[in-house]
Symmetry: C2
Amino acid sequence: MCIPTAMADHPTSSTPSGDGATAATPPVQHRGLEGVVALDSELSFIDGQAGVLIYRGYRIEDLAEHASFEEVAHLLWHGRLPTQAELDALNRQLRAERPLPQVIVELLYRIPRDANPMAVLRTAVSALALVDPEADDMSREANVRKAIRLTARIPTIIAAYDRIRRGEEPVAPLQSGSTAYDFLYMLTAEKPGQAAERTFDTCLVLHADHGLNASTFTARVIGSTLSDIYSAVTGAIGALKGPLHGGANIEVMKMLRQIDESGVDPAAFVREKLARKERIMGFGHRVYKTMDPRAAILREMVEDLSEERNARRWYDYSTAIMEVMIREKGIYPNVDFFSAPVYHMLGIAADLFTPIFAMSRITGWTAHLLEQWQDNRLIRPRAAYVGPRDLTATPLAER
Amino acid sequence: MCIPTAMADHPTSSTPSGDGATAATPPVQHRGLEGVVALDSELSFIDGQAGVLIYRGYRIEDLAEHASFEEVAHLLWHGRLPTQAELDALNRQLRAERPLPQVIVELLYRIPRDANPMAVLRTAVSALALVDPEADDMSREANVRKAIRLTARIPTIIAAYDRIRRGEEPVAPLQSGSTAYDFLYMLTAEKPGQAAERTFDTCLVLHADHGLNASTFTARVIGSTLSDIYSAVTGAIGALKGPLHGGANIEVMKMLRQIDESGVDPAAFVREKLARKERIMGFGHRVYKTMDPRAAILREMVEDLSEERNARRWYDYSTAIMEVMIREKGIYPNVDFFSAPVYHMLGIAADLFTPIFAMSRITGWTAHLLEQWQDNRLIRPRAAYVGPRDLTATPLAER
């Protein structure tokens, strides 16, 4: 095991002014850690002012147009786009790893059919460690193999549980096409068309990494104790599940369906919600002050898909909502807003939207973990203690 | 669901200088977040200079002497020590919740017998959510019930899996005594003596909370997305598993056994390790600059137990190591150092030491989550991007 020299739990100077405050300087207060730089990263760059997102030097628009999800995975893990031979090798490994160990399939059958799919994914990913002989091998080589294994198996878990809960048999992966192709096949038992595969592949590219978002940060905090990759990814899935993070795309779809079913004017619907001080999900971001570049790409995908599928209304609803939000609140759509109608038009159940996010973000989480372990330092901030200090326990009988 | 007004993913001003740097001030760099205050807490106070640990106003020495683990759990969750009636009610709830749902017991039987017990605990706790109808209920009342349920069930999971892997039937909880009593009974199928119960209960008191340690911080980061308590605790277990965190007590026991088996002089053993620049586990802490008050209490327990059990050598080895470390390195033992020989003398397998840590810390994790959700704010720091910015994707065939 790699034990770094700069061990983080060595003693440091401290004073009695908090949860281990340093003597030299007063503690720096940053609620929610907003604006605090916790670490250096070569993985992704966000210019929230200009609406720019870069993965390892490449603009997201460039990658969405010219690279597949598997090429992006290679880029994130290894720092450069793969050659044809490297891509072929990665695809062979991913395809070989897609089938689930039998014990995981049995576990999925035993889970109640109304369980939260993110809780199912979290449990199944945690269980994968129990049947992986190299689960606790902390060498970089083993961790890259496990990153590939997780990227291969998460789609299979999502599709298998979805079929089981619908009373259908899971479909074994074809182990021939791309991640996008094989996932859509496992979900529907039908080979997807080229347009659907391409659209879904681009969605996976767009969601692969995004700075130190809450789930990626979770993965790095767990990884910084030198715990294993399964522990870190299991924790990240738990964070992504939250409605203030990946869970938002489910709420967007609920709103769009509500508009569709009630026949209400979408602009009026949003204005009424705003008047009642209700939150509109899928808008605003701690980082972007303008249009999220991923939202711009997804919006074009909504337009194309809604034309193709003769479902123009999803484009109209979402555009109308966006226009009100920008004009009246100055708040722009984020990645969750337009991914919801895209997935819906691809025939995917709303409660799978967040698991699908995980299916892509697994590449970013694992790339961040590989980076964390290259030069590890325990991530451990402090709390300011604001409670009493000098109480004395009264015997139980006298309380 | 509670959606706080100060939503953390609203847009903020930013410049192109990092992962969303603010325009007004340059980003504050804190690698590992050392010295950064992330939040206020009323739960525990650490004075690393004076060697003081306080839970909600009470010194740890006072609680170790005058309060049971269940009283401390009530203190952490509700902010004050319970009355007799409140303690009776809590004990009734804990006892009622101790048995595991059948599907969890079946899961434990299907896990390979050589699995890492922390990976088993992480998976089983994640799976508990799948059979808890109020898993996603974010009301405080439901979260308190789930905190009690988790505190009741984690000991049962640990004991059941340990028996299964040893080829024995799990022992159902007695559902009468304390957490410490019922756990030792489930582990050994024998009713523990009063001294063993009392010693183990005190260990649980000592490990219940400790500021924003990595696992507690993990729980709060996950909780800050408004994800559920099972997601947050599952992530915390994954963080505690790391050798830079809870995993350290296992390494301490390895070292003590190595000394015992080889017959080497413990002081010479440590000096040789130091000369080879090897790390001595169980020493040093980011917060304490002097003796960790928990280590001082545990050291007395090691002395008493080693007298009682005619196993004085464990006290001698650990004292000799401590003296070398303090004299030659100025580094003090932490909580992991003396808990290892205590658990060993209680007849507990070394790889259960970290799961036992979780069995106690679950009260701190859940108390921190209840506190987080009282006034939630997404915990989301930033990375400084240090990679390239202006690459262009070359077509695959030309790479």
